[in-house]
Amino acid sequence: MSSLAATVQNIFDEPGCAKNGSKSKADRRKGCTRQLQPGSAAGGCAFDGAKIALQPFTDVAHLVHGPIACEGNSWDNRGSASSGSNLWRTAFTTDLNETDIVFGGEQRLCKAITEIINKWDPAAIFVYQTCIPAMIGDDIDAVCKAASQRFGKPVIPINSPGFVGSKNLGNKLAGEALLEHVIGTQEPDYTTPYDINLIGEYNLSGELWQVKPLLDELGVRILSCISGDGKYREVASSHRARAAMLVCSKSMINVARKMKERYGIPFFEGSFYGIQDSSDSLRQIARLLVERGAPQELLGRTDAVIAREETRAWAAIEPYKPRFKGKKVLLITGGVKSWSVVAALQEAGLELVGTSVKKSTKEDKERIKELMGQDAHMIEEMTPREMYRMLKEAEADIMLSGGKSQFVALKAAMPWIDINQERCHAYLGYLGMVKLVEEIDKSLSNPMWEQLRRPAPWQVLAKAMVQMRSPLAEIACDPALGETTRRAKEICFCNKVDLGTIEDAITAHGLISVEAVREHTNAVGGCCNRRIEGILAASPSALPQAAE
């Protein structure tokens, strides 16, 4: 375990991370994951993170060494897409029982690996360590090493038991395992000056394929994607790429940085989320490739593609502007997305009432200020209760967030769109941003909301019952009483004109302005101006105006 502790320590001290760089030496050693609060924690464990990061490897058997909870409760829950093998969607677990806990689970693990190789013959097996075997001291490194030798096949230990930390740490531990055991172990069939790696892209809902055609058009080859639609051989030979793009910087920055150190592959942090970002990323890819020796003309071609795609995307978003006029968006997400989608939403005419910055870096926050102005409403931490209130009181018309806060919005009968990992639509690249705008429109313009927000009939009835008991109800039932009340209520104190007289004049002549009332009655319309306006607004003839 001491080596795992060392790895964790090493990961926390990430020189490539801007946030980490700005900390004091002592703080840096403490690591970047906040200490979890028992009883108010949310989010996955390190094992969860490792699994999420690696499961998109499509041709690998993912074997979870642990009791049934770790795999049985969680399998087949990711929306990554594969262009080939579906082996990644098959769940394998040693399902440890009490006897294994007492006598150790190594033997069972060994047998499980043998069974998988005999039945499936996968490109590789990833063995995930979990809390219990870590506690009882199962040495999965040794088992995997022995199995690799015996079967002549990569059997890779992923040392990321849940209790060592958060999901984010697990992402990075998975990255360490790739660096140690996978990357650089095979050679590609051929290389080109246009080979790149995408690191931290998981191909959710197949969204990588929204961008890939553009890269194909430019002649840029994705040598490997870590790990969306990942193939073991591609990642094993990814050290031959000329440049890399770090897509989700929070999850795998250690992989990008170490590949730069070890293999001299330059990388940049970018995103295909948002129009501006997609363009920036394409330009950066071209720039890095040219710096590494690709022909200069790539830059020009890239600019041409960007110009064409941007024009198309903005044109597609244009028609939504009038529809979105005055509509307010609350954006609850993390990191890059806290600003990368803002530009597109603003361009479509939506007003941003707030964006969360919980997982954002200093640079992220600067970008937000650039886009939304100095007094941008940046939300550090928002409780579900507060979100619910904001939506319920219509401070926002729609919320974009991750699945966790979904019901907060829906239960307030407010439109909501999933823009995090469980989303079922692909929002990447130029096409994706148009798709997002389309989805927002579909949701906002749905006639269902209006019906849903209407109270149930019995609530209306109950209200009516309360009204019946009010003094006004008495008047409504008794015309004579109503008449006297009307006559008794003075509106213009100066000339002593009562409510009845004014109301009658309004009804008789269809009056709609204070001026007109003054002409037809004795009312002065000076100090009683407001009161007459009130009567006008409430009277039937004024209804058309009120409706507007």
Binding site: G39, A41, T94, K111, V164, R385
Partner: protein, 468 residues
């Protein structure tokens, strides 16, 4: 009598089973103002939470003691204490249900003792019920967790019938197994009320996970049976337990408060509902309402119409013991052959499943059996979707989790009406499958040796297993 076998594999592939702690936590979700708490690392909770949310499409309260590696070495007292205090001050629950996990069981946390210490130290918790269930991940399955949790709730919260010993003749306790949906509970409630009975459901998922929209946001469960109502269950005239898993809780209730119980192992099908309705008529002293006489007629007619389609089907079914017993018996009653049956854990009912053999195994086993035994109807939870696609046979989703279809919380299996609708659903699947995949061609009836008669029967389970 079915032969019960356990899988001999070392590697479970495509698990059918889920873990005990989340089964236990699920039971607490049927209590009003409850916060279930898993004593383990935060992943134990987050996986469970995701699973429930995907199934119900509802916000689900579930907390964690967030055990770290260091805490695991030092013992979990402090984490448990902090978690309870945090939950108490933030979520203001009426009850906290605590389930242990593999981590804290392996490390040997004595939670009962911890709770005593915590109570001594924090008098502000005096009125907050803290119910603890031991549910290690490495033993049993989801259903076992539920069974233990309900028994513990009864033990901890039900009070005796009072000094007078008087019982309320119309008050009936219902202890539903975890295989019943919120929709099932509502159906049962309506039936009991139609007999003039006043049921208390423990747990009552229909109050919390039926999908209603609460007036305001609450971090705990938004409905379910209240603590006071649970306490009053000792004054009931009868307890109705549904599913063999509920025998334990019913026995505890009987021992504690002297309430007699009647166990209904099944509530899907004609026979079991006849028995059930007769029982209700007896204990309520009322004749069977016309509504149910009509519903019985409708069910018998549905059986007549559907037997053409369900009769003779070779069913491959995988579910937790009580659901397996219930559904497979109903299908058997309709003339289907239960050809492959797989379950998760030991239970008294599985040897009575109307099949030659019941395997305690996983969905790989089910897929293999369904392939080799040429099954043409698959019944299991949503994780069976990959197997169904490979087998190319109609797939009826039943049980937990059901994450790839809507309305999981309202799928009915109980009562005459519930059975009727389920029979229609299954028969319709078979009809649709026939129209889409098995239209006769000029070659349909040629010598079978040369041409496989039905495409669905080309076995993907054996030699050339396709994983793609």
């Amino acid at each position: 009598m079915a032969l019960v076998k356990a899988s001999t594999k070392s590697c479970a592939v495509n698990p059918l089973k889920m873990s005990q702690p989340i089964g236990g936590a699920f039971a607490f979700m049927g209590l009003r103002g409850a916060m279930p708490l898993l004593h383990g690392s935060q992943g134990c909770t987050s996986f469970g939470l995701t699973l429930f949310v995907r199934h119900f499409k509802e916000a689900v309260p579930l907390q964690t003691t967030a055990m770290s590696e260091v805490a695991t070495v030092l013992g979990g007292y402090e984490n448990l204490e902090q978690a309870i205090l945090n939950i108490h001050s933030r979520a203001k629950p009426k009850i906290v249900g605590i389930c242990s996990t593999g981590v804290t069981e392996t490390n040997g946390d004595d939670v009962d003792a911890y709770l005593k210490l915590i109570r001594d130290k924090h008098p502000q918790l005096a009125k907050l019920p803290l119910v603890y269930v031991s549910t290690p991940d490495f033993k049993g399955a989801f259903q076992d967790g539920w069974e233990k949790a309900v028994a513990r709730i009864v033990e901890a919260l039900v009070e005796g019938p009072g000094v007078s010993g008087l019982r309320d003749p119309s008050k009936v306790n219902v202890l539903p197994g975890c295989h019943l949906t919120p929709g099932d509970l509502d159906e049962l409630r309506a039936i009991l009320e139609d007999f003039g009975l006043r049921p208390s459901f423990l747990p009552d998922l229909a109050g919390s996970l039926d999908g209603h929209i609460p007036g305001e946001f609450t971090p705990t469960t938004i409905g379910g049976i209240g603590i006071d109502e649970i306490a009053s269950m000792g004054r009931a005239q009868w307890t109705i337990a549904i599913g063999a898993q509920m025998r334990r809780a019913a026995e505890v209730l009987q021992a504690k408060a002297g309430v007699p119980f009647r166990l209904f192992e099944r509530l899907c099908g004609l026979d079991p509902n006849d028995e059930f309705i007769t029982f209700l008529s007896e204990i309520s002293g009322r004749p069977v309402p016309v509504k149910y006489r009509r519903q019985r007629g409708q069910l018998t007619d549905a059986m007549l119409d559907a037997h053409f389609h369900i009769g003779g089907r070779r069913v491959a079914i995988a579910a937790e013991p009580d659901l397996l017993f219930d559904l497979s018996s109903m299908l058997h009653d309709m003339g289907a052959q239960v050809t492959a049956a797989v379950t998760t854990t030991q239970s008294v009912v599985i040897k009575r499943v109307k099949a030659e053999e019941v395997l305690i195994g996983d969905l790989e086993d089910l897929e293999e059996l369904a392939g080799t035994k040429q099954c043409d109807l698959l019944v299991t939870h949503s994780h069976g979707r990959q197997a169904a696609a490979r087998l190319k046979i109609p797939f009826y989703r039943a049980g937990f989790p059901m994450f790839d279809r809507l309305g999981a919380g309202h799928q009915l299996s109980v009562g005459y009406r519930g059975t009727r609708d389920m029979i229609f659903d299954i028969a319709n699947l078979v009809i649709a499958d026939r129209e889409e995949n098995h239209q006769p061609t000029p070659d349909s009836w040629r010598v079978p040796a040369a041409l496989p008669r039905r495409a669905g029967h080309s076995s993907p389970g054996t030699a050339e297993r396709s994983i793609a």
